[in-house]
């Protein structure tokens, strides 16, 4: 199977382990990603607050590049990228004026047609059945709180992905690899990402609520599919722990890392050493390395 | 006659429930239109047989307009669907023998589209006037010495 690939900035930086684990997992499932060459910023966080037109044009450019490479679909693992690409595609489809403007900027006619996939969408395309067959390790001790955040499922009328108020697609994947998705209440609460830099106060407060609810419903890991979510829950968790001594730590894993574990890939390849909250102790306790038949 | 400014004759076949009523609405709303069209009321576009259209041309119409309910609105549920399929053939057939789309017009006009009806009628009249009289048949009429048409 072949997919177009738009890594975006995070996966080259703060979320390197996301990129690593994704590629490792796909290797096992023998799926190749063809990276869009000469891709540029997707316009998330900065562009779309500074200049609307820019925030549409940037993704449009990337999609055009993908089309030139004859890609039917593009995987954008970063939820923010995914969101921007989708929104841009949507606007260009329904806003005649905007399309003409952007075409003028890009000096090229725009034709929608590239399917944009987020991480979960990618796995659904590959087929949960196929993933199931690649499972080697028993994760039944893992109680995962699937955290979606906002960018993955909203705005629904544009993304049309899962139920914006009560998503469940990540749980499906988690449960087919044998881990236990927990019922909890904060799976789509705001983590404060937009204030990640300018007002860490808020971020810490909001993120803390999320962490707590997960712990309260005795999750031993929070699973995410978005670098923003990860950085807030993982990186910020350090300070949160400092601020609130009674606070318990909980590791934050990318969905791909959990998948990787279930496929018996080693910690280093999955970039598990790159987290602020070290998941290894938990994993060593919970993950039984024994053959399983699911 | 010939010197006179040409005024086209338009025969319009309209369904009773949508277009005819729409035309009524145009009337009640006093929406002005040109006088060239004559309506022939039939229950449904499904009732409109292509021979009507040929006969209208034979009898000296310079243009023919056929109009009925929008798909899905048909008072008889499916009449206009069957009509539409017939037209797909008939329109291209007439075009093929030289009666092209500047002579034969189709439209959906609902009972609430009085304004649309006026626009449709005026457009048809204008474009047929621009196209000029339909001599094809008129000459044949001369040849066969049937009563000469269009001397108002």
């Amino acid at each position: 199977m072949n997919f177009g690939y738009y890594p975006g900035c995070s996966l080259q930086g703060t979320a390197k382990e996301f990129d690593l684990s994704l590629k490792e997992v796909l290797k096992v499932l023998d799926v190749n990603l063809n990276e869009i060459n000469d891709w540029c910023c997707c316009g998330a966080s900065s562009a779309h607050v500074m200049s609307h037109i820019l925030s549409v044009a940037l993704p449009a450019r990337n999609l055009l590049l993908a089309k030139h490479r004859g890609m039917q679909n593009v995987v954008a693992p970063c939820a923010a990228c995914y969101n921007r690409l989708k929104v841009s595609q949507h606007e260009l489809k329904f806003d005649e004026k905007m399309r003409m403007k952007v075409e003028e900027i890009l000096e090229e006619k725009i034709s929608n047609g590239v399917e944009i996939l987020n991480l979960i969408g990618l796995f659904q395309k590959i087929g949960l059945g196929k993933i199931k067959t690649a499972i080697k390790i028993n994760l039944k001790e893992i109680k995962a709180a699937c955290y979606y955040g906002c960018l993955l499922v909203r705005p629904h009328d544009i993304l049309k992905f899962d139920d914006p108020e009560n998503p469940s697609s990540m749980e499906e994947i988690v449960s087919i690899i044998g881990a236990k998705p927990i019922e909890w209440n904060y799976k789509i609460e705001c983590c404060g990402a937009s204030h990640s830099i300018d007002n860490t106060e808020i971020v810490e407060q909001l993120s803390k609520n999320i962490l707590n609810d997960a712990i309260k419903h005795d999750a031993n890991v929070i699973v995410v599919a978005c670098p923003m979510c990860h950085s807030n829950l993982d990186m910020r968790q350090k300070n949160i722990l400092k601020k609130y001594p009674q606070q318990k730590a909980i590791p934050i894993l990318y969905l791909t890392q959990l998948l990787g574990l279930s496929m018996g890939l080693n910690y280093k390849d999955l970039g598990l050493h790159l987290h602020y909250i070290n998941p290894v102790p938990m994993l060593e306790e919970k993950v039984k390395v024994e053959e399983v038949t699911i | 006659m010939e010197e006179e400014k040409f005024e086209p004759k338009i025969t319009a076949f309209v369904c009773n429930w949508c277009t005819y009523t729409g035309a009524d609405l145009a009337g009640t709303s006093r929406l002005k239109q040109q006088t060239n069209a004559r309506l022939i009321r039939v229950p449904c576009t499904g009732r409109i047989d292509p021979v009507f259209i040929i006969k209208a041309f034979e009898k000296g119409a310079d243009g023919v307009l056929v109009s009925g309910c929008h798909p899905g609105d048909c008072h008889y549920n499916t009449g206009n669907f069957h009509a539409r399929r017939r037209w797909i053939f008939f329109k291209q057939l007439l075009d093929f023998v030289g009666i092209d789309s500047t002579r034969l017009y189709f439209s959906w006009v609902s009972a609430s589209e009085g304004k649309k009806w006026v626009d449709v009628v005026n457009n048809v009249i204008n474009s047929v006037r621009a196209k000029g009289p339909f001599l094809g048949y008129k000459n044949l009429n001369k040849e066969t010495e049937l009563p000469l048409v269009n001397k108002n």
Binding site: - | H82, I88, F90, V97, W108
Partner: protein, 286 residues
């Protein structure tokens, strides 16, 4: 043709068939329609590249046999007409026995012998040299180099302006003498009373005026829209050589382009006229 004759004999002997509609050769070596009632008749049956007629036309014109079914000798293309008649409730498949002939193409004019140059245009695009839906398949296929259609007549014609097209048909229809040979030769013209014979109202002038001829030929083509199976018998029958196939082929194209439909392919296939699709095209409707 032994096989053909044997089958026919057997059918007639056993009274499985009341009679068999087939071909025979007259003393001028012209292959002509022939109805075999007895085993002796059957001896006379033949098939060759002069077997041009579409015999399906007789299915709706002959009285039903007292006992047994109707046997009919048919080329692949002719069978389309038979299936068409079934689609239109004119005959039941069980009431007929089709003796399908493997066909190597037929000649334009039964007075001359066959050679590639004078094969019918329909043969050059034939996809049914081995018949479908037949009870028997008789005869051998010789390799037959399809003489490619030299030019797309339709496209050429449609390039003309409306006025030019009108002029063209005016000249053609002028010739028409309203003999209705086209109608009689058409296997799908089975109405007991043709619209042209309907007075009160007289939709179509029965007098052979160019105007009436326009109406007649247009309506004939329209009534065959989505029904014509392209056997081209109408054109062959026309004594004044009006290119009727041009009209028929045009309508055939429409059926193909707009609905991807051809008549007479499958007996249970819903007909084009008489059914509809909510998504039928309507870009021409204001």
């Amino acid at each position: 043709m032994k096989q053909l004759i044997e089958i026919s004999k057997e059918l007639l002997e056993s009274r499985k068939a009341g009679y068999i509609i087939g071909y025979t050769e007259d003393k001028f070596h012209r292959t002509k329609p022939f109805i075999a009632h007895t085993t002796n008749d059957a001896e006379k049956l033949t098939f060759n590249q002069k077997a041009v007629h579409n015999l399906a036309v007789y299915l709706t014109r002959l009285p039903k046999p007292k006992e047994g079914k109707i046997g009919i000798v048919a080329k692949g293309c002719d069978i389309k007409a038979i299936i068409g008649l079934i689609q239109e409730n004119q005959i039941k498949r069980d009431d007929i026995i089709i003796i399908g002939m493997n066909c190597n193409g037929v000649v334009k004019d039964i007075n001359i012998d066959y050679n590639k140059e004078n094969s019918q245009m329909k043969c050059s695009i034939c996809e049914l040299r081995t018949p479908k839906h037949a009870n028997y398949i008789v005869g051998a296929l010789e390799d037959f180099a399809k003489s490619e259609l030299t030019k797309n007549i339709l496209a050429e014609f449609e390039a003309l302006s409306a006025e030019e097209r009108w002029k063209f048909w005016e000249k053609e229809f002028e010739k028409c003498i309203k003999c209705y040979a086209c109608r009689q030769a058409c296997p799908l013209c089975y109405c007991e009373q043709c619209i042209v014979e309907k007075s009160m109202p007289q939709w179509i002038d029965s007098s052979p005026t160019t105007k009436g001829n326009f109406a007649w030929n247009i309506i004939r083509a329209f009534h065959l829209s989505g029904r014509c199976i392209g056997c081209n018998e109408c054109e062959r029958a026309c004594p004044v050589n009006i290119p009727l196939s041009l009209l028929n082929r045009k309508m055939g194209m429409v059926a193909m382009k707009e609905f991807n439909y051809r008549h007479g392919i499958e007996p249970d296939q819903p007909t084009l006229i008489g059914n509809y699709n909510t998504s039928d095209k309507e870009d021409f409707i204001m």
